[in-house]
């Protein structure tokens, strides 16, 4: 059984974006929140209400199903894997993710796929997100 990224205490989020910085830092070697494979969303006029949108590692990923070139394919134990050379930059994958969890790299025009590495959870000061064992087929 593999561990996947999960929101475990949404209400404890303080909106520091530390998770997004950690993801960008680790995978894109960049100082920014815009290269992160998860998103902390906040809402107009609702001070302190955050919605955390990580890839949930679907058994049947809608993003992969929407990909016309096969660049995104289902990964063992949940999630997707991405082949950059096959991508035609259409963005259909991002549109297909109903929870808006799959992020888009505006600069490179490719999806920012979550590797479920858990680095974001190591930089969450309030235990909002965690790596959780989820039964998924190989």
């Amino acid at each position: 059984m593999a561990k996947l990224l999960r929101v475990v205490n949404r209400e404890q989020c303080i909106g520091c974006y530390s998770c997004m910085y950690a993801c960008s830092r680790t995978w894109a070697k960049a100082i920014t929140v815009e290269k992160a494979a998860l998103r902390i969303r906040n809402y107009a006029g609702v001070e302190g209400a955050f919605s955390i949108r990580p890839c949930v590692g679907c058994d049947e990923p809608d993003c992969a199903a929407a990909c016309p070139t096969g660049a995104l394919t289902r990964r063992k134990f949940g999630g997707v894997q991405f082949k950059a050379e096959t991508c035609n930059h259409c963005g259909a994958c991002v549109q297909a993710c109903a929870s808006k969890a799959l992020q888009w790299d505006v600069e490179k025009r490719i999806p920012l796929v979550c590797h479920h590495c858990g680095v974001c959870t190591q930089f969450c000061p309030r235990d909002v997100i965690a790596m959780v064992e989820i039964p998924r087929e190989a």
Binding site: C16, Y17, Y21, K29, T32, G48, V106
Partner: protein
């Protein structure tokens, strides 16, 4: 090596330009240093509300890059003081400016119609928005966020109706409950026909030196999150000071009549937490989360069980300014006043101190029912304060319209200057710990408790007495050192995390090499001196920054403050600054 850019927006023509200002950052580091150098190049005779008067927003090389480096400096000519205006705010602005790829945003001109500004990467657009006129600072945020659905993370900066009315104590609100509170930036924006701006972008810095940056970042993160260095700011927040300060006669009560507040326990940090704290939130890239959000639930139709709920942030300064100093000992009443102030967009300290002056002057017969239109001003009367605020908003009569021009203006017009608790026309913050709290307000470049934390010198002196010469030197050195922190622009709550050694290591990890302790301190001393030179060119004189007469008669934590001692130490501080000004040339 990272590059730094400045965006200039001219609201009159609706045009913008971008300039590389890396050289300026090499000299002035960033933030307050860079902003000072830019303001000092302007004509000191400019009317603060003239179209040509610039608003300079500046961040530094650590913003968005390291934990708790979350602040943005705003610099402008203050309509409250007529000289240097400076205020700092957190929120998401520093992150969003970094994302837009600009470290300085300089706004000049006056929009032909009531407008707001959007900045997406390199593109700035002035958008006419007459329907936003008169909207509260909170409503404006909802509307602008809704309309500007940007791809990248954004920051929303705006004024309330007070800024539109050009109140010199109007503030500018940033995102969720952060403010450029002090010195009237709200009026400067209002005079530019600018309701606010939304800024975002996808710029970033690649990590060039991964081997240095990653472990250094982790070390900082662990200090911030896992050590006790910043715990108090998260737990109760600065409101934890309320009771301890009152115990040592340091909590301003009833317009600084005394430092002990009998109701301190009822408006303490603990009490707010137990009754109202709904959650802590954070500025972007700060893992502390010091913003304490209070919920206030009110029954507005008892017959039908109709409730409404508000959320508003609180901290020590607000609890002092709208609590003890007005003799309000109900958390609910403090919050009700805060909500009105938050929507209007006044600086909470300034409006609170002005209300306290009004009540004090009413009770001494300096103003009467003629001015107040039959309202009786009593300390402790929350419903009355709400009425006063609502009359200011409605422009009820000349007296109420004057109240939003600050306590110094009112005292000069109506009398009671001896009880106007302002230094250099800036209403005082929430500490009456002794001579150095007051000297701190008086000698601070922005007349803020944050300029050099004089209150801390007073408190240390209670157990470890030192000579005035030593203490004044400490005040000066702290004021200078904070120019390093404010150039980077680190949240001052993290001042003990960011030591000189840590700062130099952090600059090196970004390949910003060549900085040494000596070079940092020279820059800081020069920026500090340059501010005073600009202030003086605007007419500022140390000699004119007197100690409000009332403060010579009250018992502070460190006893009665003598006018002679205050003046002698003002002269000593002035001599230190003048030596630095001579070195500038």
């Amino acid at each position: 090596m990272p590059r730094f850019r400045m965006m200039d927006v001219d609201l009159t023509s609706g045009t913008s330009t971008i300039t590389d200002v890396t050289d300026r950052f090499e000299t002035w580091l960033g933030g307050t240093g860079v902003a000072t150098s830019l303001l000092a190049e302007t004509d000191p005779a400019l009317d603060p509300l003239a179209p040509e008067a610039p608003i300079i927003f500046a961040i530094g090389p650590f913003n968005a890059v390291y934990p708790v480096c979350t602040k943005t400096v705003a610099m402008f000519k203050s309509p409250l003081t007529g000289n240097l205006g400076e205020s700092h705010a957190g929120g998401r602005l520093a992150m969003a400016m970094f994302g837009a790829g600009i470290h300085v945003l300089r706004i000049t001109g006056r929009a032909p119609a009531f407008s707001y500004l959007t900045i997406n990467d390199d593109r700035a657009v002035v958008k006419q928005a007459n329907s936003l006129r008169g909207t509260s600072a909170l409503a404006a945020e909802r509307i602008m966020r809704d309309r500007e659905d940007t791809t990248h993370k954004k920051s929303i900066v705006r004024i309330g109706p007070a800024g539109e009315r050009l109140s010199p104590i109007a503030e500018v609100t940033v995102d969720s409950s952060r403010h450029f509170g002090r010195m009237g930036l709200g009026a400067v924006m209002g005079a530019k026909n600018l309701k606010g701006f939304v800024i975002s972008g996808g710029s970033y810095w690649p990590i060039e030196n991964l081997a240095a940056y990653t472990p250094f970042y982790k070390k900082l993160y662990d200090t911030v999150v896992k050590s006790t260095a910043m715990q108090k700011y998260h737990d109760l927040g600065t409101a934890m000071n309320v009771v301890p300060l009152s115990r040592i006669n340091g909590l301003p009560t009833r317009n600084f009549s005394q430092g002990f507040f009998e109701g301190a326990a009822d408006i303490s940090g603990e009490k707010f937490a137990e009754k109202h704290l709904s959650q802590q939130i954070a500025c972007a890239h700060c893992q502390v989360g010091c913003i304490h959000m209070a919920s206030l639930r009110e029954l507005f139709d008892p017959e039908h069980y109709q409730y409404k709920s508000f959320k508003v942030s609180y901290d020590h300064e607000l609890v002092y300014a709208l609590g003890s100093n007005l003799s309000i000992q109900s958390t609910e009443e403090v919050l009700r006043l805060l909500i009105i102030i938050e929507k209007q967009g006044w600086d909470a300290i300034s409006i609170g101190v002005t209300l306290a002056w009004a009540v004090d002057s009413f009770q001494k017969g300096i103003i009467g029912q003629k001015e107040t239109d039959n309202l009786i001003l009593n300390f402790g009367d929350g419903a009355m304060y709400e009425k006063v605020l609502n009359r200011i908003i409605a422009g009820h009569n000349e007296f109420y319209r004057d109240l939003e021009r600050g306590s110094d203006f009112c005292a000069r017009k109506y009398g009671g200057l001896d009880r106007s608790i302002a230094f250099g026309k800036v209403e005082a913050a929430g500490y009456m710990t002794g001579t150095y709290a007051f000297l701190g307000y008086a000698t601070g470049v922005r007349h803020s408790h944050l300029d050099a934390a004089g209150y801390s010198i007073d408190q240390k002196g209670l157990t470890k007495p030192k000579s005035d010469e030593e203490q004044t030197k400490e005040l000066y050195q702290e004021a200078v050192w904070r120019h390093v922190l404010n150039s980077l622009v680190i949240c001052l709550f993290a001042r003990n995390v960011y030591t000189k050694e840590i700062i130099l290591e952090g600059l090196n990890a970004l390949n910003l090499t060549g900085w040494t302790e000596e070079r940092l301190m020279t820059m800081a001393r020069r920026a500090h001196a340059l501010k005073f030179r600009y202030k003086m060119a605007c007419g500022f004189r140390f000699e004119e920054i007197g100690l409000p007469e009332k403060l010579t008669r009250v018992m502070t934590s460190a006893g009665v403050v003598s006018k002679e001692r205050y003046r002698t130490q003002m002269d000593a501080f002035k001599a230190l600054v003048e030596a630095d000004i001579r070195d500038l040339t």
